[in-house]
C-alpha cells in the first residue's frame, strides 16, 4: 500500500554490502554508524559498522539464520533482539553460546555457527578479569524504571550502580520513535528515544555509576546483598549492595502455530531493535499479530522504515490498543482484522507467507475463512511476560497473577518484595508501560534512599508525589486490569509479611 518510505542504500563490493538492508533516510531517526570493520562468519568476510551487534550486522548483510535447533536442525532467526530468547547463540572468538544480539562487532571478529549444543572453549582462549564493587544501591536493568530509580536515589545522595545487559542503556525507550502520552511530569509528547537521552543526561548529572553489556547472573547471600555480574563474557563483577532495584523488564510471548520458529517471525520488540536502534530494514511485507498498543505502534514504525504492512490481525473482538494508534494505521490503508489469527506460517528456511483465519465467538477457527498472504515478516505482538529470574533465584515470594503478565515477585505499594531491601519496578513487577515504569522507578529510588537514612524529608516528598502521579496515570479504564493485578500482589504481600 505505501511507497517505500525510507531509502535503502544499495552498495556494491564485499559480501553483505550489495544486499545491504541498512536504512539511510528515516522520517524521525538519524542513524550514526561507526567505523567500517570486517567480521568473519565461518570464514566468510562481512562488512559491519562499529556500534552494531553481530546480529544487526549479519542481518544487514542478508544473513537471517543464527543457530539451528538441536534435534531437527531447524533454522533459528532472532526472536527478541534483547538477549532473552537464546535463538541467536553463536561461537564468537572461541567463546560458545554468545548472545549475538547483545555482543558488538569488532574488527576481525570470528563468528561461527554452533553444532548441536556447542563445544566448550579451550581454557587458554578466554582471559577472565575480576572486579569488586561496593555500593549503596544496585539497579539491575537500565530501562525507564531502572534509570528513574537510579536518578532519584542518586539525587538523594545514594551511591548507585546500574548494570544493563544491552550494549546501549535506556531499555526499550531507545527504540520508541512515537511520542508518549501522559502529562508534563512524565515527558508527554516527547518521543521515547528523546526520553532515553534525557534520562541518560540526568543519570550523568546525578553522578550515578553505570555499565552496559553486563548481566546479573546470580544472587548470593552475604551480609549485604551480593550479586554476580558478568560483563562482555569475560569479566566477573562481584557487587555488594544494601539495596537492590530489579528492573529487568519483560520478554515477549510466543504464539503457537505451525512453523512459528521460521526466521522472519520475530517479536515486535525485536523488530523495533533491528529497525529503530540499528537502522536495518527487517523485511519487505509484514503481517502483525496483535492489535494492542505494541502491535499498532510497531505497525506504524514499520511503515516509517519503508516496510509494507499488509495487515494486523487480532484474536480479540476489539482492538486492544488506543484507537488513535489504530487510526494512524487505518488511514495509511492497513486493515485491522479483529476475530482473526494466524493459522500457520509457510516457507523454506525463511517465512514466505502466512495463513490467517477468522475466529468464532468461542475462539475456534471458522472453516473456509482461511486466507493466504505473502509476507516475509511476521511480528508477534501478543503480550509480555515479566523477566523475574533473578528475583526467584534470590528467593522472593512469587505469585501467578495473569493481570500482571504471569509469575511476578509479590510486592507492596512501595514495590518492595518479600526480601528486605529488594525492590521491583517497571514491567518485571507487572506488564504496563514506560510512563508508569518511570513512576515506579522513582518510588523505589526514594524508598531506597529512606532506608539508607538519606535526606528523609525530601525522599518522602518524591515518594508521595510519584505515588500520586502513578495513581493519575492508572485512572484510565485501560489500567483497570493492571490495577486489579497490582492489588492482588499487594494483598498477597501483606499476607506473607
Amino acid at each position: 500500500m505505501q511507497d517505500s518510505n525510507s531509502v535503502i542504500e544499495q552498495s556494491t563490493s564485499v559480501k553483505g554490502m550489495n544486499s545491504d538492508l541498512r536504512i539511510r533516510k528515516h522520517p524521525i531517526l538519524e542513524f550514526e554508524r561507526g567505523r567500517l570493520v570486517t567480521i568473519h562468519l565461518n570464514g566468510e568476510k562481512i562488512k559491519a559498522y562499529e556500534g552494531e551487534t553481530i546480529v544487526a550486522a549479519l542481518y544487514a548483510a542478508g544473513i537471517k539464520t543464527y543457530s539451528r535447533s538441536v534435534k531437527y536442525g531447524r533454522p533459528r532467526g532472532f526472536l527478541c533482539g534483547i538477549g532473552k530468547c537464546s535463538s541467536c547463540l553463536m561461537r564468537v572468538n572461541g567463546m560458545p553460546h554468545v548472545r549475538t544480539c547483545l555482543a558488538l562487532v569488532e574488527d576481525g571478529m570470528k563468528i561461527e555457527y554452533e553444532k548441536g549444543h556447542g563445544e566448550s572453549p579451550i581454557a587458554t582462549e578466554v582471559e577472565v578479569k575480576e572486579e569488586r564493587v561496593d555500593t549503596d544501591l544496585i539497579v539491575i536493568g537500565g530501562g525507564p524504571a531502572g534509570l528513574s530509580a537510579a536518578i532519584t536515589a542518586a539525587n538523594l545522595g545514594v551511591d548507585v550502580f546500574v548494570v544493563d545487559e544491552n550494549p546501549k542503556i535506556g531499555g526499550q525507550l531507545i527504540k520508541q520513535t512515537h511520542k508518549f502520552f501522559g502529562s508534563k511530569q512524565n515527558y508527554a509528547n516527547v518521543r521515547g528515544i528523546e526520553i532515553a537521552k534525557m534520562l541518560l543526561r540526568d543519570l550523568r548529572e546525578a553522578d550515578a555509576k553505570w555499565t552496559v553489556n553486563a548481566s546479573a547472573i546470580g544472587y548470593y547471600e552475604s551480609k549485604k546483598h551480593m550479586l554476580a555480574v558478568v560483563q562482555n563474557n569475560s569479566k566477573l563483577i562481584e557487587v555488594r549492595a544494601d539495596e537492590i532495584v530489579v528492573s529487568t523488564g519483560a520478554r515477549e510471548n510466543m504464539l503457537l502455530f505451525p512453523n512459528n520458529d521460521l526466521p522472519g517471525i520475530y517479536g515486535a520488540g525485536g523488530v523495533q531493535t533491528l529497525m529503530n536502534v540499528y537502522g536495518i530494514k527487517p523485511g519487505n511485507d509484514a503481517l502483525i499479530i496483535g492489535a494492542g498498543n505494541v502491535g499498532l505502534i510497531v505497525g506504524y514504525q514499520l511503515i516509517q522504515a519503508g516496510v509494507n504492512v499488509k495487515m494486523v490481525v487480532e484474536a480479540m473482538p476489539k482492538i486492544g490498543g488506543y484507537l488513535v494508534h489504530a487510526a494512524k494505521l487505518r488511514r495509511l490503508g492497513v486493515p485491522i482484522l479483529t476475530h482473526h489469527t494466524i493459522k500457520a506460517a509457510e516457507g523454506k528456511g525463511h517465512v514466505e507467507g502466512a495463513t490467517i483465519v477468522e475466529l468464532d465467538e468461542n475462539w475456534q477457527p471458522i472453516e473456509g475463512t482461511e486466507e493466504h498472504i505473502d509476507v516475509d515478516l511476521v511480528c508477534l505482538a501478543v503480550g509480555l511476560t515479566p523477566s523475574s529470574e533473578i528475583l526467584f533465584q534470590a528467593g522472593c515470594k512469587q505469585a501467578y497473577i495473569p493481570e500482571l503478565g504471569g509469575l511476578v515477585a509479590i510486592h507492596n505499594e512501595d514495590l518492595e518484595t518479600t526480601l528486605k531491601g529488594m525492590y521491583v519496578a517497571g514491567d518485571v513487577s507487572g506488564i504496563e508501560e514506560a510512563s508508569t515504569a518511570m513512576m515506579e522507578g522513582r518510588i523505589t529510588g526514594a524508598n531506597a534512599a529512606m532506608k539508607l537514612g538519606k535526606d528523609r524529608a525530601k525522599a518522602e516528598k518524591v515518594r508521595e508525589e510519584s505515588l500520586k502521579h502513578l495513581e493519575g496515570l492508572r485512572s484510565s479504564p485501560f489500567s483497570e486490569r493492571v490495577l486489579k493485578g497490582k492489588k492482588k500482589a499487594w494483598e498477597i504481600w501483606r499476607e506473607a509479611n
Partner: protein, 170 residues
C-alpha cells in the same frame, strides 16, 4: 474494559475507523465550521494524556481530568493549528471550509518521507486509507519534535473525510 461509552462493542473498536455516530460527538457544530478554521480532535477514549490542553493559548481545549477526553470550546478556537503537532496520538486536525468556493483546507500531522512540498499533488486518503480525491499541498512545516504539519487543499465536500495523504501524484 469498556473504554467507549455506551456498553456495546462498536464497530469503531473492531475496525479502528469511527462511525458517523462517533464522529458526531467530536465534530464542531455546523455553524462553527462555516466560520472557517477550526480544530477537530479525533480522540474519544480515556487516555492519560494532556499536551493538547497545555499548548492551546486560547484555552479552547480543556480536560476534566488527565484521562477525560479533551473538550473543545469552538468559540474560543481560532484554528491556529498549534495543537496538531502537540498531540502524541496524531489525532488532531484543523479544517477550514471557507478556503475557496469549492475547496477546503485540511491540516494533518504527517511523519513519513518524503516531507511534502508546497505545490505538490498527493492522493487524498480518508480514515480508511482509501483514495477519495486529490490533495494539493498548501503548506508543510516540520516542527521541532519531528512531526510535519501539512496543510492540504481538497474538494470542499471531502473536508470531513480526508485525514491523510498517500502517494505523490505530481
Amino acid at each position: 474494559m469498556g473504554n467507549l461509552e455506551g456498553g456495546e462493542l462498536s464497530s469503531y473498536e473492531a475496525t479502528g475507523v469511527p462511525t458517523p455516530e462517533h464522529l458526531e460527538r467530536i465534530l464542531p457544530p455546523k455553524e462553527r465550521l462555516k466560520k472557517g478554521s477550526v480544530v477537530i480532535i479525533e480522540c474519544i477514549q480515556k487516555i492519560p494524556c494532556d499536551p493538547c490542553a497545555h499548548i492551546c493559548k486560547f484555552e479552547a481545549i480543556t480536560k476534566g481530568s488527565l484521562t477525560d477526553p479533551p473538550e473543545v470550546n469552538y468559540e474560543k478556537c481560532t484554528g491556529c493549528g498549534e495543537c496538531v503537532a502537540a498531540c502524541p496520538g496524531l489525532a488532531i486536525f484543523v479544517v477550514n471550509t471557507k478556503y475557496r468556493n469549492d475547496k477546503a483546507l485540511v491540516t494533518i500531522p504527517y511523519e513519513l518521507l518524503p516531507t511534502p512540498k508546497r505545490g505538490e499533488i498527493y492522493e487524498a486518503l480518508d480514515r480508511d486509507g482509501k483514495k477519495v480525491g486529490e490533495a494539493g499541498i498548501i503548506n508543510a512545516r516540520k516542527v521541532k519534535n519531528g512531526t510535519a504539519v501539512v496543510t492540504i487543499a481538497v474538494k470542499r465536500h471531502l473536508a470531513m473525510d480526508v485525514r491523510n495523504i498517500g502517494r505523490k501524484l505530481k
